[in-house]
């Protein structure tokens, strides 16, 4: 197996009474990497995440963490934030975090040290003796995040981590995710929000109806989906003569989208335009957004 991957899934299947929630899924999560798990509602994201976290077991297939069967590892180093957040309402913040951290296999002393560290970092040490029910929603989100990472997991799995978060907490957690990645952890998170994928992920896995339909590095996926489409803005009035290699699509008087045929390249386009009398203001490639890639892939696959 690839020594660089932290988590590896191989032909994982989970059947719920005849419905394949997870259908022969294989992918790997590299070390020190942020991976986005995308898919429409009901695609099987949560089922897959629950299998990786050991909440449910796969019917068949292999799941390896550091090359070992994940179900055989005592306290696999995984941090998990479920989509349905929840903490013991009547328990005090400090007690609760120490309990959850110890449940992940840390000793009492280690757990306390780590929780104190995180609470200082988020500037919430003063909440140690507060009960969860006394906290606001934003406050308990911070506590929930600490509960996910306080045992220093190598693999952090976040199910829709930004849903219901206010902008301040969204930013805080984004920064923490990137910092944890830089410290060597891998983060697998599911989301609907494509701008977050573009902003944070290095790798994406798109699943639909339980199957992986797209899997790869963000840049590679984009290149795969690009249509050689460019946008050029000009200063003057410009009406080019038709050219067999370049398809001009006017957007308005001074903006054009141009599709270049495979035999030509962008330099040739620019040369042709200048020769035709264009005064160029800007030039850039139009890459498909992940939203488009997402919709395109899901629709294609479901019409197959």
């Amino acid at each position: 197996m690839d020594m660089e991957s932290l988590l590896e899934l191989n032909q994982v299947v989970k059947d719920y009474g005849g419905v394949k929630a997870v259908d022969h899924v294989s992918f790997s999560v590299p070390k020190s990497c942020i991976v986005g798990l995308l898919g429409p509602n009901g695609a099987g994201k949560t089922s897959l995440i629950r299998i990786i976290t050991g909440i449910t077991q796969a019917d068949s297939g292999k799941i390896l963490l550091h090359g070992n069967n994940i179900y055989k590892i005592q306290d696999p180093s995984i941090g998990y934030m479920p989509e349905e957040r929840g903490l013991y309402k009547k328990m005090k913040v400090g007690e609760q975090l120490v309990f959850l951290t110890r449940l992940r296999g840390l000793s009492k002393e280690d757990a306390e040290r780590s929780v104190v560290g995180w609470m200082k970092k988020f500037e919430i040490e003063s909440w140690w003796n507060k009960k969860i029910e006394e906290l606001s929603k934003g406050m308990s989100q911070k506590v929930q995040f600490i509960a996910t990472v306080s045992h220093r997991p190598r693999l952090i799995i976040l199910d829709e981590p930004f849903s219901g978060l206010d902008p301040i907490n969204t930013n805080l957690i984004k920064e923490e995710i990137i910092r944890l990645k830089n410290e060597g952890a891998s983060i697998l998170f599911s989301t609907h929000r494509m701008e977050q994928v573009e902003e944070m992920c290095e790798h994406i896995i798109l699943i639909n109806k339980g199957k992986v339909v797209l899997n790869g590095e963000v840049q590679a996926v984009r290149n795969e989906f690009k249509e050689n489409l460019f946008e050029v803005k000009v200063e003057n009035e410009f009406s080019p003569a038709p050219h067999p290699g370049f398809e001009f699509i006017p957007v308005n008087v001074q903006t054009f989208h141009i599709r270049i045929s495979p035999q030509h390249n962008s330099n040739e386009l620019l040369q042709y335009m200048i020769q035709q009398g264009a005064v160029i203001v800007s030039f850039n490639e139009l890459l498909p957004s992940f939203n488009e890639i997402f919709i395109k892939t899901v629709n294609e696959k479901s019409h197959e």
């Binding site: 629950r50 909440i55 349905e84 903490l87 013991y88 309990f99 449940l103």
Partner: protein, 436 residues
């Protein structure tokens, strides 16, 4: 500490440190004491009114008025009924009691009349009747020329003292069965109470974790069965703690209560049991009873009681846990599911009362093996000294069944806790059990 230990200690500590637990633990015995004292006072309450009654005695008998005239003041009147009636409104008299002529020993029914605008209450009426019955009895004894002392000799108290046939059997006193019934009933009742109270607490605790959604986080680090058993054991320990505290507190509060109320033990007992008009127990009888209680095989009773307590608690608490896992976000939904658990427990307690009345019946035999009933019924039968093989067989069935029930409950539990939203139907639950 392993995970099960962690879960148990969390469950235990959060419950025990809760102010509600501390309050109910401390106040319940006090509440019971106050309750019984109030009940006693209510029942021992005597009307404070003193009746003044004019008596027109035409019976030609000596009347046998009670010596303490706290409730009645009798005034023998020589006036006629009409003149007394005329004075009634103005005078202090509450009623006019007319005793017609008594015609002799052949009379078996005697009716007298009470004239008043306010009818007598039942208690006072029966007191007057007793007075008259006594007077007539004396009159009849006199007329028949009988000797009062000889009459007393006619009454004999009969009791049956059971004796063993074979030499290996234990000799028992006449009180054995009564003592066994009381102790057995008490033990069955204690187990019933604990299962019901703490089983329901397990259910609430499970449903709470599900509604809070914290359960998903926990079972990503511990096995669902560990979480379920941790809960059952943790709540069980909370229950034991509470009972131990009560065992210590009850006698203290009892003594303090006695001091405060200024009553002595005798008075309190009288106050709390006015209905039981039992003859005062003589010293000898009391000694026999104490000897009998002390002579019971307490080690056997204690050990077996504990085994049934544990088996019964685990059996029912795991069922309660499964139900907690099957409830939806609205915990009130659980009502229709809990019936499955509450009906066998309630049946068990009724069967227990019948079984200690008829310990050799087929019902008692069946219930002492049937695992849903045996934890409550068998301890109740213990003081009847059933043979060891019966106890062991019953325990084996109970623990075997308990193991199976924990397995089934575990399967319902691990699926149920992740099914958010609506309460599960029985059809869904049976699917969860069968699902691999």
């Amino acid at each position: 500490m392993n995970k099960l230990g962690l879960i148990i200690s969390r469950e235990y500590l959060t419950k025990v440190k809760n102010w509600k637990f501390i309050l109910t633990t401390l106040l319940t015995p006090l509440g019971f004491l106050i309750f019984f004292i109030v009940i006693g006072i209510i029942f021992s309450y005597e009307g404070d009114k003193k009746y003044t009654i004019a008596v027109i005695n035409q019976s030609e008998m000596d009347l046998d008025f009670p010596s303490d005239n706290q409730r009645f003041q009798f005034v023998l009147s020589s006036s006629t009924l009409d003149s007394l009636k005329a004075q009634y409104e103005r005078s202090e008299i509450d009623g006019i009691w007319v005793l017609p002529k008594f015609s002799g020993v052949e009379v078996l029914d005697y009716t007298c009349y009470f004239y008043s605008n306010k009818p007598l209450d039942i208690e006072h009426e029966s007191k007057l009747e007793r007075i008259m019955e006594k007077s007539i009895r004396h009159q009849k004894i006199k007329l028949l020329a009988l000797d009062e002392n000889q009459l007393k000799k006619l009454d004999t108290k009969v009791s049956i003292d059971p004796e063993p046939v074979s030499a290996t059997e234990k000799d028992r006193s006449a009180h054995t069965i009564k003592i066994a019934t009381v102790i057995g009933g008490a033990m069955g009742y204690v187990i019933f109470f604990i299962i019901f109270l703490y089983g329901a607490s397990v259910m609430r605790s499970v449903a709470d974790e599900k509604v809070n959604r914290v359960v998903e986080l926990i079972i990503s680090s511990a096995k669902p069965v560990e979480l379920m058993l941790g809960k059952v054991i943790g709540v069980g320990l909370v229950g034991l703690t509470q009972i131990l505290i009560w065992l210590v507190l009850l006698p203290i509060i009892y003594m303090v209560g006695l001091q405060l109320s200024g009553m002595d033990v005798q008075q309190l007992q009288e106050a709390s049991q006015p209905m039981a008009q039992q003859a005062p127990m003589d010293q000898e009888e009391l000694a026999v009873i104490i000897r009998e209680i002390a002579g019971l095989n307490w080690l056997k009773i204690g050990v077996v009681f504990l085994l049934y307590f544990l088996g019964g608690y685990f059996l029912y608490a795991s069922m309660f846990a499964a139900i907690g896992a099957a409830t939806g976000d609205d915990m009130n939904d659980a009502q229709s599911l809990t019936i499955v658990v509450t009906i066998p427990i309630l049946l068990a307690i009724y069967i227990m009362f019948q079984a200690i009345r008829l310990p050799d019946s087929g019902l008692a035999a069946f219930a002492s093996y049937f695992p849903f009933f045996s934890p409550i019924v068998m301890p109740a039968l213990l003081s009847f000294d059933p043979p060891w093989w019966k106890i062991l067989l019953s325990l084996a069935i109970l623990y075997g069944f308990c193991y199976a029930m924990i397995w089934v409950a575990g399967r319902i539990y691990r699926v149920g806790i992740l099914m958010y939203g609506k309460k599960a139907s029985w059809k869904e639950i049976s699917k969860w059990i069968l699902r691999a």
